[in-house]
C-alpha cells in the first residue's frame, strides 16, 4: 500500500516527466511537477525522468536546484530515476560529457549510451522478481547500463547485451531506485508500484 499522504514530485526540467506523472496517477498518486526549490521542499519523494542528462544538469544548475536535490537525496529522500534519471543518481559515470556532474547517491558506475545509438535501441521482456512476478516490458532508448555496483547495491534486473555480458539494468540501494529502461512509456506500472510501496516506505 502506498503510504498515506505521500507527496511525490517529478523533476520537470526536461524529458518525459508527464509520462511519469500519468504512471503515478495510475497508482492513485497525484504527483507534482518540480522545477523550483519550493516545489522540491513540498515533496517527500522524487522521480527523475528520462530525457537528456546533460540538459537536465545544465538547467538544474542554472535554476539553482542542483545542490538542493543532491542534499535531499543524501539526506534520504526516496528517489527513482529512469534512464537519464539513472545517470543522474549514479556516483560515477563513464562515456559522459567532459566534466558532467550528477546528483549521485547510488554507489554505481553507469555507462552513458552503453547500448549504442538510437538504431540500437530496443524493447524486450526482462525478469525482475523483486519488482514483479510477471516479465516487465522494458524499453531501452539510447540507454545506459550499470558497469559496477557497490556492495550495498541490490541488482534487481540484468540484461545480456550484444557484448555477451550481462549488465545490471535495474538497481536499488536503500531509498534509491534506478532503471536503465523506461517503464513510464508502457502500461506496466509495476516499477512505479515497487517504488511507492517498497522504496518510499
Amino acid at each position: 500500500m502506498v503510504a498515506k499522504n505521500l507527496r511525490v514530485g517529478v523533476l520537470a526540467l526536461q524529458g518525459d516527466f508527464r509520462e511519469h506523472i500519468e504512471a503515478l496517477a495510475n497508482c492513485q498518486v497525484d504527483a507534482i511537477e518540480v522545477r523550483r526549490v519550493k516545489e522540491l521542499d513540498s515533496v517527500d519523494a522524487l522521480i527523475i525522468p528520462g530525457g537528456e542528462s546533460t540538459t537536465i544538469v545544465s538547467l538544474a544548475k542554472t535554476f539553482e536546484i542542483f545542490t538542493p536535490i543532491k542534499k535531499r537525496i543524501a539526506a534520504g529522500m526516496p528517489t527513482y530515476g529512469s534512464c537519464a534519471g539513472m545517470i543522474m543518481l549514479a556516483d560515477h559515470i563513464v562515456a559522459a560529457k567532459e566534466g558532467q556532474e550528477t546528483f549521485g547517491g547510488l554507489d554505481i558506475t553507469v555507462r552513458r549510451n552503453a547500448f549504442g545509438r538510437q538504431v540500437d535501441s530496443f524493447e524486450t521482456d526482462i525478469s525482475a522478481p523483486a519488482i514483479s512476478n510477471a516479465p516487465i516490458r522494458a524499453v531501452f532508448i539510447r540507454a545506459p547500463w550499470v558497469e559496477n555496483v557497490g556492495k550495498n547495491v541490490e541488482v534487481l534486473a540484468s540484461y545480456e547485451a550484444s557484448d555477451g555480458i550481462s549488465h545490471a539494468v535495474a538497481v536499488r540501494q536503500d531509498h534509491l531506485l534506478a532503471t536503465a529502461f523506461h517503464p513510464e512509456i508502457t502500461d506496466d506500472y509495476s516499477v512505479h508500484r515497487y517504488f511507492l510501496d517498497k522504496v518510499c516506505k
Binding site: E52, S58, L59, K97, Q118
Partner: protein, 295 residues
Amino acid sequence: MAQESGTSRVKRGMAEMLKGGVIMDVVNVEQAKIAEDAGAVAVMALERVPADIRAQGGVARMSDPDMIAAIQAAVSIPVMAKARIGHFVEAQILQSLGVDYIDESEVLTPTDYTNHINKWDFTVPFVCGATNLGEALRRINEGAAMIRSKGEAGTGDVSNAMTHMRQIGGEIRRLTSMREDELYVAAKEMQAPYDLVKEVAANGKLPVVLFTAGGIATPADAALMMQMGADGVFIGSGIFKSGDPKRRASACVKATTFFNDPKVVGDASRGLGEAMVGINVADLPAPHRLSERGW
C-alpha cells in the same frame, strides 16, 4: 528473450525523451559543442542553415557523411540529420551512419514531388514537417515517429510557425467535438487515414510528439510555441545567425523549460545582442516558401 528494434514504441519513445527541449541546427563541431554546453537536447547536423540555403540558392542535399560523423564524435547528445523529401537512399546512408533521427525535410530540395519516404522500412526514426493535421497524419501513416510544425525556415519570422500550430491544434480540437459518424468525412476532407483520425479524435492529441520549427529566433518565440502546445522546439538559423550564439542558445533552453514564467523568459531575453536579421515571410515570393513543399 527476444529483442525488438525499430518498433513504434522505440521510435516514438526517443522523441518523448526530447520533450521540453531545444534541438539546434549546427554546421560544425564547434557549434555542436556550444549547443551541447547550452543544454540542447539534440543537434541537427547540416552543411548550411536554412538562412544560408535561402541566400545562396542552388540544390540543397544531405550533408557530407564526414561532417556528420565528426559531429557524432564530438557530442554525447543525439545527432539528427536531414534527407531530402522522397530521397530514400540519403535516408539509407544516414541510417548506416547511425544518426539518431532523420528529418525528411522541406528545407532541402525535394527529390520526389509525389511520394515521401516509406519510413516503416527503417530502424531509425523519422521526424517530418506538417502545416496542418492532414499532412501530419499522412506523415505518421508513412511511419514518421515525430512531427514538427513547419513554419518558414530560415526567415526568423515566427508567423508561419504560429499559423501552423494554430491550424494543427484547431483541427485536433474540432475532431474531438465531432460525432463518430462525422469522422469519416473529416478523414476524407483532410486526406488522412480514418484510423488515425479516429485515434486523434479520441485522445485529443497526435499519437506522436509535436515540436515546432521555422522562424524561431528569440526566447520569447520559443516560449510562445510552448504555450501554443508544442512539446519542444527546433531552432535553425536563429541561434548561429545571431550576434551571441552561446548566450542565445542557453537563453532559448531556459525559456523552453520555464515557458509559463514571464520573469524567467524576460531575464533570459536580456542582453542577447543582435537577433538574426530575418526576412518577413510575406515578402517571400511563392517559389521560395519552403513550407509549401510536402504533399
